[in-house]
């Protein structure tokens, strides 16, 4: 029971790291980016290639995954995404689906369609016993890292100059520009950072979530759930939503395997009907 809860928390934390970049693009910049999972997949594959082909330590792969995904995000944002911020939602949807399709086919072409496996360093694999509860070491590691990241994110958004610039740019783009904030730069950096976080999540999740070319499609709905249920105004909203989703999903798969995914989708739809703007939305947007 507690083990399930623990696994659920780890899973939820991962989802949070994967999805929090999307919170910003989708919620704050109002861009429906269904291709977010593609960046996560990029991070995952960077890790796989580095570890399995070149034997580089897992710990070095994580920042590498972050950097590579962030770089891809930055390039794509500058070349493609930035033209579509003002476009209708249908255009954004079509565009990002296109990106997803391309990412899937390209990954299939270069890496093959099979599940990718990574070998965790020995100190992270296996379980240990904490007060009678079986705790996966890797899951503990995930929780610690993700929790640190969540705190750091909250800090950056609410306390630093960059955070306030971002919030200003999101609240009113024109006024922010008038105040001399370089909005395109802020958006580009944010997008890159969000993509990087997704890449990091993908790298860490390769073990827990699995990694194959269909990753972006498989987890698209999860990211969207986190964002739409959590709302977009805070970091804590999506964080709680991700935790809830993670626990519900793990528990659902464990207790009622036949209808596990069904429960998640049904929950999401109910949630959207009751609170269309998210669980923890601020009013009036």
């Amino acid at each position: 029971m507690l083990t399930i809860l623990f696994d659920g928390v780890a899973y939820g934390m991962l989802l949070f790291i994967l999805a929090c970049g999307l919170t910003v693009t989708l919620g704050l910049m109002n861009f429906i980016n269904l291709a977010h999972g593609a960046f996560a997949m990029a991070g995952g594959y960077v890790t796989v290639i580095m570890m399995n082909r070149y034997g580089i330590s897992f710990y070095w792969c994580l920042p590498a995954a972050f950097l590579v995904s962030a770089l891809i995000g930055l390039v794509l944002e500058r070349t493609l995404y930035q033209w579509l911020y003002q476009a209708p939602h249908l255009d954004q949807v079509l565009f990002s689906i296109g990106i997803v399709f391309m990412a899937i086919a390209a990954t299939d072409y270069f890496m093959g369609g099979q599940q990718q496996l990574i070998n965790l360093p020995p100190e992270l694999s296996g379980r240990m016993d904490v007060f009678g509860v079986g705790v996966g070491r890797y899951r503990l590691f995930t929780i610690v890292v993700c929790a640190l990241l969540a705190v750091a994110l909250q800090f950056i958004l609410s306390k630093t100059r960059f955070g306030s610039r971002l919030r200003a740019a999101v609240d009113d783009r024109r006024v922010a520009m008038g105040l001399g904030i370089n909005v395109p730069l802020v958006f580009a950096l944010t997008f890159a950072f969000g993509s990087g976080l997704a890449g990091l999540g993908g790298a860490m999740g390769a073990e827990i979530l699995g990694l194959d070319p269909n990753f972006p499609l498989k987890f698209m709905i999860y990211f969207l759930i986190v964002v739409s249920v959590g709302g977009t105004s805070t970091v804590s909203g999506p964080f709680l939503a991700a935790l809830l989703l993670g626990i519900a999903d793990v528990a659902g798969k464990y207790y009622v395997p036949a209808i596990g995914p069904f429960v998640i989708y049904a929950l999401m739809i109910v949630m959207l009907i009751v609170r269309p703007n998210g669980l923890f939305a601020r009013g009036g947007r």
Partner: protein, 346 residues
Amino acid sequence: MSAVQQETTVTANPTADAESRATRLMKRRSRVRFYEIVIWLAAIAAYFVLPSKMLILTEIAILALFAVSLDLVLGFAGIVSLGHTAFFGFGAYIAGLLALHFIAEPVIGLIVAGILSGVLGLLTSFLILRGSDLTRLMTTLGIGLMMAELANQMAWLTGGADGLSGFSLNPVLGLFEFDLFGKTGYLYCLAVLFIGTMIMRRIAFSPFGLSLKAIKGNPMRAAMIAVPARKRIVTAYTIAAVFAGMAGALLAQTTSFVSPDVLAFHRSADVLLVLVIGGTGYLYGGIFGAVLFTLVKDWLSVVTPQYWMFYIGLILVVLVLIGRDRLARWIEYLPERFSKSKEEGR
């Protein structure tokens, strides 16, 4: 329909005048255009000219019906749906199950599938009334995924991942036997497509269709001129679900096979692409788009059997970046008569 008439109706009674002008405008909007006749003639001609291509023609007809039904939701009511395939797949399974267990008469199967899909559409339409584009997107996507999951889990009914097979159908209306080359299948699908398009055309170019466009343009203002937005959206969504279900039923009946693939996400994306290629908001976009899309996809899957998805994605990205409006306006480059009527139709 001309200047003469316009001059004769000079202002005795302003209301009557406005009314007659409105009627005239509506009539002009709904006039049968030249290209429509050409399409249907070409579709019939294809039967005689391309006897070896019946299967792909059938595929086009089915996809066209599916896309036209989505156009009612997207092009007229302005709802971005990522789960339209829920109805397509539902209709396909209904038709397959009916043929397997109860009646092998295709037309009855088609109608039952349409009605049941419509019921599903009616039930789910209440979920898309609230919230923003994103909420609707998520809800429709969620419904689509739920249906796919359901079909996968209820293996005792749907055959699970293996799909539904081993049913065969009686001749259409007891007269036309399905043959090996798909000739009957094509004509059957074409007939359904024609009837379906005509019905939807009637709906779309009626005041009802106009009010849908008003809702799409600005829901609040539409409400101010007394357009009951919620009711209209529910109705449009239900009608679209009926025809999407029929398209699915056609697929099940002509291929005698239903796989869980009919509910897959990529189908919803495909049909969006079809509609975007052909242009939204005038119904025939779905048909043009279906022809183009199927040909391109067929060609790509010959060239790169495994990676055609990449090019479909590329087409999507390029389309959006070029601007699909510009693409959809190709019809305005046709001789002036069509382009003029298109302008007025807006």
